[in-house]
């Protein structure tokens, strides 16, 4: 089991080592009975983006399926063309 706070602020890197930014929130699908995690919200100035200063368009959303592993202080995701 993880906590949300343990995932936030982690650096997000691709398998090939490229840094995409920091995870400043998780995207989810809320139903009547469940809340599933569907993705990561990643941005470079994550804190400012979370505060809404630069608006949500300055971030990338990474689908959870692209998450390879969570290690140490980072989240590793697959390289994809859209990045």
């Amino acid at each position: 089991m993880r906590t949300l706070s343990s995932l936030l602020r982690r650096e997000v890197v691709t398998e090939s080592g490229r840094t995409l930014g920091r995870c400043y929130d998780l995207r989810g699908e809320l139903t009547a009975t469940t809340l599933r995690v569907t993705g990561l919200c990643v941005g470079h100035s994550a804190w400012l983006a979370h505060l809404g200063v630069r608006g949500h368009d300055s971030h990338t959303e990474i689908p959870w399926d692209d998450v390879v592993r969570i290690e140490g202080k980072r989240i590793v995701v697959r390289d994809t063309d859209s990045q």
Binding site: H50, L51, G52, V53
Partner: protein
């Protein structure tokens, strides 16, 4: 009760409640030190508190969230905790200063020993808050505070040179004693931009269940109430300048400040001044202690509110009781309330950005505010005051040190 009557009464209470011990100390001292040269700062302070209050009130009306709810949600736990701790420290200092002011006013009215009056003041506040409904508290202290209008009468009676007064409204830098001048600018703005008033106002709005349709009324209440209340600050500065400057008196005691009404208006002036000070500062201490309780309860997620009664919100009730007792302890150490006031105002100004910035962000956040988010005017003013507040916050402590807390 018709809306107009309600608004009028609200405005009267706001005028009576506008002046607190920070305004008394800084406005009169500024007049006594620099004459009318600092008049221009007062309107800037008044517009500032209107802008800040209006934003917090609107956030409360639209999002249903009070200041510390919104701060914690929007800027996160860590920053929120920092804002909370600094607010509570400043709040307690301010509360102690206000309570000390109440005790001094009681002493001047009754002649009884000061230390006993500190305890009496706290016990009286505890009882009055516990027993009295909120509407009546607002009325008693608001209307009682209207006695402060005696200073407006005194200001006119002292026959100041109105051309000099007028000149004072043009922003300028003093010829000499620039550091002290800067210190007074900080103090005057700090005394006007009281954060506790804003927390109290917005939490009160949630309690009164404001909705977006109340925005107009409350904007009017803020603008007219604070605007007219600002005239009292002007009057205090004129009194300080007209009476004390020429005589070289430095008003370091509330008694001296009350002289400002006695000299032109005699015994009745003195009595009204002391009663006005008692109610204005007493009312301010109530707002301050509640704002301290609101902030802590909101940050921690406790049940809170005057309307919940003590049984409904026990930790909230215990908080304001404990804060009053702590304030009593501080004043009983013998610290001079006027000195404590100066420190409280300066530190309040330093901590101001920590709560102003999050509120400015929330007021702009469409997710919270829908179509009631800051429009162009609100943002121009909001950002302008952000600059003012940050500059003031950064220069406050250096100026305080360099001028030896205004003693130079």
């Amino acid at each position: 009760m018709s809306k107009v009557l309600g608004l009028a009464l609200g405005i009267l209470a706001a005028i009576g409640g506008f002046v607190d011990i920070g305004d008394l100390v800084f406005n009169v001292s500024a007049g006594a030190t620099f004459g009318y040269e600092l008049m221009w700062v007062i309107p800037i302070g008044v517009v500032g508190i209107i802008v800040y209050s209006e934003m917090c009130g609107r956030v409360a009306a639209v999002s249903g969230k009070a200041v510390f709810d919104a701060i914690r949600e929007r800027v996160g736990f860590k920053a929120g905790l920092g804002a909370l701790v600094s607010s509570e420290v400043v709040n307690l200092m301010t509360l102690a200063a206000e309570v000390g002011g109440v005790a001094i006013a009681l002493q001047l009215l009754s002649g009884l020993p000061y230390r006993w009056l500190i305890v009496l003041a706290i016990v009286a506040l505890l009882v009055v808050i516990w027993v009295t409904s909120f509407e009546w508290l607002e009325r008693i202290f608001g209307y009682g505070g209207l006695c402060m209008l005696v200073f407006a009468v005194a200001a006119i009676k002292l026959g100041p040179s109105w051309t000099d007064v007028g000149k004072g409204f043009i922003p300028h830098i003093a010829g000499d004693s620039k550091l002290l001048y800067g210190y007074f600018i900080i103090g005057l703005l700090g005394a006007a931009l009281t954060p506790y008033e804003v927390y109290f106002y917005s939490s009160g709005g949630i309690e009164d269940q404001w909705s977006p349709k109340d925005i107009g009324l409350n904007r009017a209440n803020a603008i007219i109430g604070y605007g007219l209340g600002g005239f009292l600050s002007l009057a205090l500065m004129v009194v300080g300048a007209a009476l004390f400057l020429s005589r070289g008196i430095s008003p370091e005691h509330l008694g001296t400040i009350a002289l400002g009404a006695e000299v032109p208006l005699g015994q009745i002036g003195l009595l009204l001044a002391l009663v006005g000070i008692l109610f204005a500062v007493g009312g301010a201490s109530i707002d301050t202690v509640f704002s301290g309780a609101y902030n802590l309860a909101q940050f921690c997620g406790w049940e809170w509110g005057r309307y919940r009664h003590a049984r409904g919100a026990p930790r909230f009730a215990l908080t304001w009781i404990v804060l009053l007792v702590l304030a009593m302890g501080i004043v009983l150490t013998g610290v001079d309330p006027v000195v404590l006031t100066e420190y409280a105002v300066i530190f309040s100004v330093v901590a101001l950005p920590l709560t102003y910035i999050p509120i400015l962000l929330v007021a702009n956040d469409r997710a919270y505010m829908g179509r009631y988010g800051n429009g162009r005017l609100a943002n121009v003013l909001g950002l302008l005051y952000l600059v003012v507040i940050v500059i003031v916050a950064l220069s406050a402590v250096p100026l305080m040190i360099l001028t030896n807390v205004g003693q130079n």
